[in-house]
């Protein structure tokens, strides 16, 4: 079954394909990418490094491991999660991705004179949820600060953020690496989680002669998650990001959609000789629009840095921001850092401190759903394979569907098989997510039970399933309506077998002459005669008896 899922996508996306199955693909993907490219291209400059980029490009991905011999990569990730609150962080404007430019704005998020921010309390709810889910220590008193810089997409000239007292610190996240890449459990540290507001967007004209500002996104709440530098490969980094996505979707605090920019990862990569304690010079990579891009960008960057090290040109690794270009499959210098940017942080005087009470935190703690890590451990306990576990727990809607199915009494392994094979294939074809189909978990459990107790055959089951997925209805009514109850009565089946044998004397002769492969042919004919309703076990038993015995 896994083959069905991975086939065709595995070349690009190593593990994300699974979740891609269950999400509606976005038609605006192209525009987003274009806009992003446009935004950065004026500042991008090609690297002047003497490094032979072609060399790296030609290197098969699998060879990365070998290329890094003697070196280890240190990877830390800053993730911005856009919160799916009904209104923005500091005003009552809604935010809908894809709206016409400057239609979800007001004097407050446009930074008009005299306007003031008022915190949307949902932002705190969501921040506390994520902080708890990431096993963080919560700051019972935290505050907002202003991060100051000029850019046309930043209406106030400062971003309301949190500086020295973030709402959550010191946590960790657990995840399982995909089986097809060797598997393994990992725990990565979380340095901090803080609340802030998003900026608007710049739309650059084709000619590059002017730019337009769209402030729809300005003031949308974000949570920034900063990881410890605990990742060692592109795969680990991408899996970390995928787990963050899973977590925010489980928590219902964000749609976690990378293409829409609801989940954005900036990655810091450095390389050092194994055994050295001091970190190497770190390079920041931006423009990572998918987990697979993350994976490849990081592996590319590791190879680039290792190559420079091994060629004795490590001084060419400078602190800079590089952009991942999907087309070229390379990173390019975007801007070199001249010292540290001074954001002149100071406490935001327009907002009171954020004070949490123990009761409030306890209440949120109790309301947390079962999180991906707990789910995976529970599924393991159910006896599912790690591949099944990862598949089912990957998407909270799938997991929920699975959980409800087995709560209705279905066998876990059978339910998993149905979901991962026929249902997954259907969803893929129809580009639907599991909560968009007509099939209910209860009917799936009914279906499984009907097959298990012999009411219908597995083959009929598959047919009914498609009907249930696309049109809905109940297993019971479909079976009755279409007269699909399995034929288990040996005398009825025997009559059918006799009929088929009589109708095919030639083949019968050949069979008896030694061509036993023809058993399949007869079985098929009998099944056809029964309109697929004959129980295959009974059928085969009788058929063999007849073929052999009646000579």
């Amino acid at each position: 079954m896994a083959l069905i899922c991975h086939g065709g996508i595995i070349a690009n996306s190593l593990f994300l394909s699974k979740s891609a199955l269950f999400t509606r693909s976005s038609s605006s993907l192209f525009h987003t990418l274009q806009a992003l490219k446009a935004r950065v291209s004026p500042r991008a400059e090609s690297t002047t490094s003497t490094l032979k980029e072609e060399l790296i490009q030609a290197t098969p991905k699998r060879a990365v491991e070998q290329n890094t011999h003697g070196f280890e990569a240190i990877i830390g990730i800053e993730t911005h999660v856009q919160l799916s609150t009904l209104t923005k962080a500091f005003c009552s404007c809604p935010y809908l991705y894809g709206s016409q430019p400057n239609t979800t704005i007001c004097p407050i998020c446009m930074g008009h004179p005299g306007t003031l921010p008022v915190l949307n309390s949902k932002v705190i709810d969501f921040a506390v949820k994520l902080g708890l889910a990431l096993n963080c220590k919560l700051s019972m008193t935290s505050k907002f600060d202003r991060k100051q810089y000029f850019y046309p997409d930043l209406p106030k000239g400062y971003q309301i953020s949190q500086f020295d007292i973030p709402i959550a610190t010191n946590g960790f996240i657990d995840l399982d690496l995909p089986v097809e890449f060797g598997g393994g459990h990992r725990r990565f540290g979380i340095t901090r989680v803080h609340m802030e507001e998003d900026a608007g967007k710049l739309l650059h004209s084709e000619t590059g002669s002017y730019s337009q500002v769209d402030l729809n996104r300005a003031g949308v709440p974000l949570l920034e998650i900063v990881s410890e530098p605990d990742m060692r490969s592109g795969l680990e980094a991408a899996e970390y990001a995928a787990e963050i996505q899973r977590l925010v979707r489980y928590l219902g605090i964000s749609n976690g959609n990378m293409q829409e920019g609801s989940l954005r990862c900036d990655v810091n990569v450095s390389v050092r000789p194994i055994g050295q304690l001091k970190f190497g010079t770190k390079v920041e990579i931006k423009n990572l629009n998918s987990f697979s891009a993350m994976n490849r960008a990081i592996d590319y960057e590791i190879s680039r840095q290792v190559l420079l090290h091994s060629q004795g040109q490590s001084e060419q690794i400078v602190q800079e921001t590089r952009l991942w270009e999907d087309g070229a499959q390379k990173t390019f210098t975007m801007r070199k850092k001249e010292g540290l940017a001074d954001y002149r942080y100071f406490p935001e005087p327009d907002l009171p401190e954020v004070v949490l009470t123990k009761d409030y935190v306890d209440k949120i703690h109790q309301s947390l759903p079962e999180l991906p890590e707990a789910k995976r451990r529970r599924y393991e306990q159910l006896g599912l394979t790690m591949q099944d576990v990862l598949f089912l727990a990957n998407d909270n809607h799938v997991a929920e569907f699975f959980d409800t199915t087995i709560e209705n009494g279905a066998d876990a392994k059978l339910a998993a098989n149905w979901i991962m094979s026929d249902i997954a294939a259907f969803l893929k074809n129809e580009r639907l997510s599991i909560n968009e189909v007509k099939l209910t978990p209860f009917e799936l459990s009914e279906l499984i039970a009907s097959i298990k107790n012999g009411t219908i055959s597995g083959k009929i089951g598959k047919e009914i399933l498609i009907e249930l997925l696309s049109k809905g209805g109940t297993v019971k009514s479909l079976i009755e309506e279409k007269d699909l109850v399995q034929i288990v009565d040996p005398t009825v089946i025997e009559a059918l077998v006799d009929k088929v044998l009589a109708a095919n004397p030639k083949q019968l002769q050949q069979y008896r002459g030694g061509k036993t492969k023809l058993q399949g042919f007869f079985a098929g004919q009998v099944m056809k005669e029964s309109k697929g309703k004959a129980n295959p076990l009974v059928l085969n038993k009788i058929l063999i008896e007849k073929l052999k015995g009646d000579s």
Binding site: H112, P113, P155, R344, D350, L351
Partner: protein, 561 residues
């Protein structure tokens, strides 16, 4: 009833003050309508026309021109009694505004809809519908307070012609109470200045002496009330911008507790210090305005949910006062404000006021606020730091002055270079410096620590006293241009007021006397300070003080000419 209040200053002031009216044993008639009449003919009162003031030979205490009464209440009364129409009143004010404006220049914009709005009030009166408490009251609004139907520039070229999309909460509340916004008053650019010379558009003159500044930054609002171009006005006070011009112009100025009035719609200068305040020609009028604009606002997270009392209702009529209306009131005179560097005339006015309060039954003692002198540098660091951030939004991208430029950095640089005046640029630079990496601890953080000290010293002093008193400025109004090239001297003039903003407590300035200068003397204001949310206490004391201060008439010579 005749006020049975001893006024020891009566004799004192006669020999000292250069007043051109003759003190005589006069007695105010208790009839309120007569008193109103007195007020309307302020000029004749000042010229001590005997026909408007009746004598009462039986009164043991001499009394001089009537104490200020509420213009707001008198407008209301005349509307309700159909003695005058709102259009009539509006016409009177507009007429005076037009006459005096060429000299005073307190308005950046005068509303074109005043008469129409006044006629609307008259229609309401005709129909017998309920009138809002401020129906027909003409109010000037400082130009950094947003008004949807009028330009709001904050006194800055960078916002020339800018019309906000909304009314500030305070303006909305005033309009809901029936007030008519007569126009937008001049100010130092974004509130940065103490003279109104820092306006990007014009210099406002002091109605008491047009060669002098009206104070600032709310100089336009103070001058407009003083010159009776409007009934009352809104200002804003970050470091004294309501209180100092009130003192300079001889009007009542109130700086409420931080958070008492919503800041929504007030163009931010220093967010943690800014507060909207009000000016009136009597304490009652400022109380009525405070009532109208106070309260929690869901658009300002720093606005307080503290209950709003009926500020005006606790101000008892002068006729009902007993001989010691302030009996037991503990008044602390801040020692640091009456020493070196303070004009002698100002000091003696304040000391006289203290005596007057004692006569009213108060117990006046000197108190020391050890951190007082630290307040000024701390204020300038904190205010500049916040200003450098708050003014970042004026980048020429979305609104206001936009320079023509080929490149983004020049768009920013040129728009700001052309749009901001020198004082604003200086404060942005100072604030940017103070917040910079490596300097933050030495400046911003240190200043915050000083702020904590200042708060504490005010709390200690106000635990032992009901109110504190001090001058509102170390000098009376000075000459236009006198301190333009000496910013430090100008900053030093804020010493009396900035500590109050750092502590976040309310303060009321009421005219208390005169010093020599100009043709009729220059007014001096008494600053009264109370604990947070004790505006009612301040207003009560201020009202009694004002109503019993019988030998001064704070109407500028401009109006008597």
């Amino acid at each position: 009833m005749p006020p049975a209040i001893q006024n020891p200053r009566f004799l004192l002031s006669q020999c000292r003050l250069p007043f051109h009216f003759t003190p005589a044993p006069l007695q105010l008639p208790p009839n309120p309508s007569l008193r109103r009449q007195l007020h309307r003919s302020a000029a004749s009162a000042l010229s001590s026309d005997p026909q408007t003031i009746s004598r009462d030979p039986k009164s043991p205490y001499p009394s001089l021109p009537s104490p200020p009464s509420s213009q707001i209440l008198s407008i209301r009364e005349s509307l309700l009694s159909r003695q005058r129409t709102a259009a009539d009143i509006a016409d009177e004010y507009l007429d005076r505004l037009r006459r005096t404006e060429p000299q005073i220049r307190s308005f950046l914009h005068v509303s074109e809809t005043v008469m129409r709005e006044a006629e609307e009030v008259d229609r309401l009166v005709e129909s017998g519908a309920a009138l809002g408490p401020l129906a027909g009251v003409l109010i000037g609004v400082k130009d950094n307070i947003c008004t949807a139907d009028m330009p709001s520039t904050g006194g800055s070229k960078i916002l020339e012609g800018y019309r906000p999309a909304f009314d500030a909460t305070a303006v909305r509340m005033l309009k809901e109470a029936g007030a008519i916004v007569i126009g937008k008053t001049n100010m130092d650019e974004f509130g940065m200045g103490s003279t109104t010379e820092g306006s990007g558009f014009q210099v406002t003159a002091n109605p008491w002496d047009i060669s002098r500044v009206p104070g600032g930054s709310s100089g336009g609002s103070a001058a407009a009330v003083s010159a009776k171009q409007c009934v009352v006005s809104l200002g804003s006070d970050t470091g004294g911008s309501v209180r100092q011009p009130a003192s300079f112009c001889g009007v009542v100025g109130l700086k409420p507790t931080y958070g008492r009035v919503s800041r929504y719609g007030l163009m931010a200068y220093a967010s943690s210090l800014d507060v909207i305040g009000c000016f009136g020609s009597s304490v009652i009028d400022t109380a009525i305005i405070l009532n109208a604009v106070s309260g929690h606002d869901r658009f300002d997270a720093t606005s307080s949910t503290h209950e709003v009392p009926e500020y005006a209702s606790c101000l008892i009529s002068i006729d009902d006062l007993d001989s010691k209306p302030l009996k037991g009131l503990r008044v602390g005179m801040i020692r640091e404000t009456i020493g070196d560097g303070v004009d002698m005339g100002v000091v003696s006015s304040i000391k006289d006021s203290a005596l007057h309060l004692e006569e009213l039954g108060a117990i006046v003692t000197e108190v020391s606020l050890p951190s007082f002198s630290l307040g000024l540098p701390a204020y300038y660091i904190l205010a500049s730091s916040e200003a450098s951030s708050n003014l970042s939004r004026y980048d020429g991208v979305r609104y206001g002055n936009q320079a023509t430029a080929d490149e983004l950095n020049y768009l920013y640089g040129d728009s700001r270079a052309e749009g901001f005046g020198p004082e604003v640029k200086m404060r942005i630079l100072m604030g940017t410096y103070a917040l910079s990496a490596g300097y933050y601890d030495a400046y911003y953080k240190r200043a915050q620590q000083v702020r904590t000290l200042v708060r504490k010293s005010f709390k200690d002093a106000l635990d032992k006293n009901d109110i504190l008193i001090s001058p509102a400025a170390p000098s009376p109004a000075y000459k236009i241009g006198e301190k333009v090239n000496d910013p430090l001297a100008m900053y030093a003039g804020d010493i009396m007021t900035v500590n109050v903003n750092l502590a976040g407590v309310p303060a009321l300035v009421a005219p208390c006397g005169f010093v020599e200068g100009g043709i009729a003397g220059l007014p001096v204001g008494l600053q009264m300070i109370a604990s947070a949310f004790n505006e009612d206490k301040l207003l009560r004391v201020g009202h009694i003080f004002e109503q019993t201060l019988q030998n001064f008439k704070f109407v500028p010579p401009l109006l008597t000419e």
